[in-house]
């Protein structure tokens, strides 16, 4: 344990509970030192497979909830989709088993100084970090409107909890199985107008974040977009999670989602170019631009 230093810690934690939540699992872990440093939008990076594991990379999850103290010491909660062997292994951990936790990592959501109207957009289980954010925003006197989106009913997360967290809640599914039928790009512009939103906070995949950033811009609102918490190292060492973003100086640089993000200003990310090194990027070479 590395308590006492600023920044993230790596702790030998303990799995406290694993609960199903629709198509997802809700993991609660004892991880002293993480909760105390948490701010909404930051993430944890978990080792998978145990000490004899052949898995060399960690898995990143946005933090859903923390409790700074209690009977077990500080706890941290995340929501995962068991879609690959690493997350499936985590989802199968019995209560009481050890878990290697690194966090909190990354740059959190920026909070407004004034009590403004905020629209929070969450896609699937990526909505998880919006709940502690909503709490902080309400503490500051902000009005919170939430849009939860997903492919279908099963892929939604937190629809019930959202009623407590937000003044208005809108649910949108692409197949129309619950809420309005449509994607974020279809329903967000209306919501921003009705809510008179000054700030848009979004968490989800690149297409949803792009749609949120675009809708915010058209509406004249700021946007804070959280890209998926990166796998890999989580600490900025591996340079595996880079995306092109425009800096204050107007230059595009390849920035790391784990350290410069995962929350970016929506108007800074070159969403159409994610996964590439655009030719006008600082330091781009013709060979690299592939």
């Amino acid at each position: 344990m590395t308590a006492g230093r600023p920044g993230p810690v790596r702790v030998d934690g303990e799995m406290l509970a694993v609960k199903r939540a629709g198509g997802y699992v809700h993991l609660t872990m004892v991880a002293p030192g993480v909760a105390e440093r948490f701010r909404p939008g930051s993430f944890v990076s978990l080792a998978v497979g145990g000490p004899l594991s052949d898995r060399c990379l960690r898995r990143g999850f946005p933090i859903y909830r923390v409790r700074a103290s209690g009977a077990y010491g500080g706890t941290v909660e995340v929501v995962a989709r068991p879609a690959e062997p690493g997350t499936t292994w985590l989802a199968g951990r019995p209560a009481g088993s050890p878990v290697d936790v690194l966090g909190p990592l990354g740059r959190p959501f920026a909070l407004p100084r004034e009590p403004v109207a905020c629209a929070l957009v969450g896609e699937g289980h990526a909505a998880a970090p919006l709940f502690p954010l909503a709490e902080r925003l309400r503490e500051r006197g902000c009005t919170v409107h939430m849009l939860l989106a997903g492919a279908d009913e099963r892929s939604l997360f937190g629809a019930l909890e959202a009623r407590r967290a937000a003044r208005t809640v809108l649910v949108a599914t692409e197949d129309g199985s619950v809420g309005i039928r449509g994607a974020v790009a279809d329903v967000l512009p209306d919501l921003l107008t009705r809510a008179g939103a000054d700030v848009v906070y979004a968490s989800g995949t690149v297409p949803v974040l792009h749609a949120a950033a675009r809708a915010a811009e058209q509406h004249g609102a700021w946007s804070q977009t959280a890209v998926p918490a990166p796998d890999g190292c989580g600490t900025g060492l591996c340079q595996g999670c880079v995306l092109p973003a425009v800096g204050e100086d107007g230059l595009t640089r390849m920035v790391r989602a784990c350290t410069e993000g995962p929350v970016f200003r929506g108007d800074r990310v070159r969403w159409d170019d994610v996964g590439t090194v655009p030719a006008d990027t600082w330091g781009a070479t013709p060979e690299a631009a592939r």
Partner: protein, 311 residues
């Protein structure tokens, strides 16, 4: 013997270190590791490779988890010489790190300029030459695959770097490794950094196309390659200082490389999994030696080659 009695100090040319555990180039950034360890506590800190101009790195997928390893293709993203000299380097110097600056280039002229500027910068204790790039003058092969080209690069770097600052040539395992090591040593390299990394590729399950078509595998998967490579070079060139790198996760992994002939080791991929691992390996190596009753790591260097260790 109690571990605190074990002498871990070591020398690689004129690079004197309190212990033989270094970071591996490209897997470490000082500011990134700082929350988890003191960079000054490591034997040395090897920077990510610096190129003359800023480099945005590779597009597309950069990192794939493979069995017991990581397949990577980052394209040497770095802020360039100027960014390094005004950013990472002074930070490391201020923290008391023994900095080994890794340099990478495609031409002899670029290597010369990098070597001169980096080698004369306060805080740099050694220069590591990354030869893992295609030479722009003979682009068919990586510089580090051709003893003649690799030797020329090292000669140029050695000429530009002041005396007292050792030049380390980094070589990856290949059939001609021993000839390469001999060539760079003849041209003035005080030591070779012998890496177990191997080429690799991976296919994406969703698209059925390569996620990384041509990358590098590192991590525990290649540890035995590294032990073999160190063994080979030490057998052929017993007086040439070797730094071993490849899949070191534990103190025993480090000691294995030492017993095969390495005076020092580097920790790379393990730091991606556990950023505190380089410091942990120092303590585990100390404990391993203590438990074996070996009072100094220097005595273990190459000991597996038959003469054993006097305890």
């Amino acid at each position: 013997m109690t571990p605190d009695k074990v002498d871990l100090s070591c020398e690689v040319g004129d690079l004197r270190m309190p212990n033989p555990v270094m970071t591996a180039s490209g897997c470490a950034g000082g500011r990134e590791l700082a929350p988890f360890l003191e960079v000054a506590d490591l034997g040395a800190f090897v920077t990510g490779s610096v190129t003359l101009d800023p480099c945005a790195g590779a597009g597309g997928r950069r990192l794939v988890e493979t069995p017991s390893g990581v397949l990577h293709r980052t394209g040497l993203q770095n802020p360039g010489l100027q960014g390094f000299l005004t950013g990472e380097l002074p930070w490391l110097a201020q923290r008391g790190a023994r900095t080994v600056a890794s340099i990478a280039a495609g031409t002899l002229g670029e290597y010369a300029e990098l070597a001169r500027r980096v080698g004369n910068s306060p805080g740099v204790r050694a220069v590591e030459v990354n030869l893992d790039l295609p030479g722009r003058e003979a682009p068919a092969r990586r510089l580090g695959e051709d003893p003649y080209q690799a030797g020329k690069v090292v000669a140029v770097v050695r000429r530009e770097v002041p005396r007292g600052i050792p030049v380390l040539a980094k070589l990856v395992w290949q059939p001609g490794l021993v000839d390469l090591a001999g060539a760079v040593a003849r041209e003035g390299a005080e030591a070779v950094v012998v890496s177990g990394q191997v080429p690799g590729a991976a296919i994406d399950r969703a698209t059925l196309a390569p996620s990384v078509a041509s990358g590098t595998v590192s991590g525990p998967a290649v540890h035995a390659v590294a032990v073999h490579a160190v063994w080979q070079v030490h057998t052929a060139l017993p007086d040439l200082p070797i730094v071993g790198v490849g899949g070191v996760r534990t103190g025993w992994d480090a000691l294995e490389l030492v017993l095969a002939g390495a005076r020092a080791v580097q920790v790379g991929t393990a730091a991606l999994h556990d950023p505190g691992s380089p410091a942990r390996v120092v303590e585990e190596l100390r404990a391993e030696l203590g438990a074996l009753g070996i009072d100094s790591v220097a005595r273990a260097v190459g000991a597996a080659h038959g003469q054993g260790v006097s305890r």
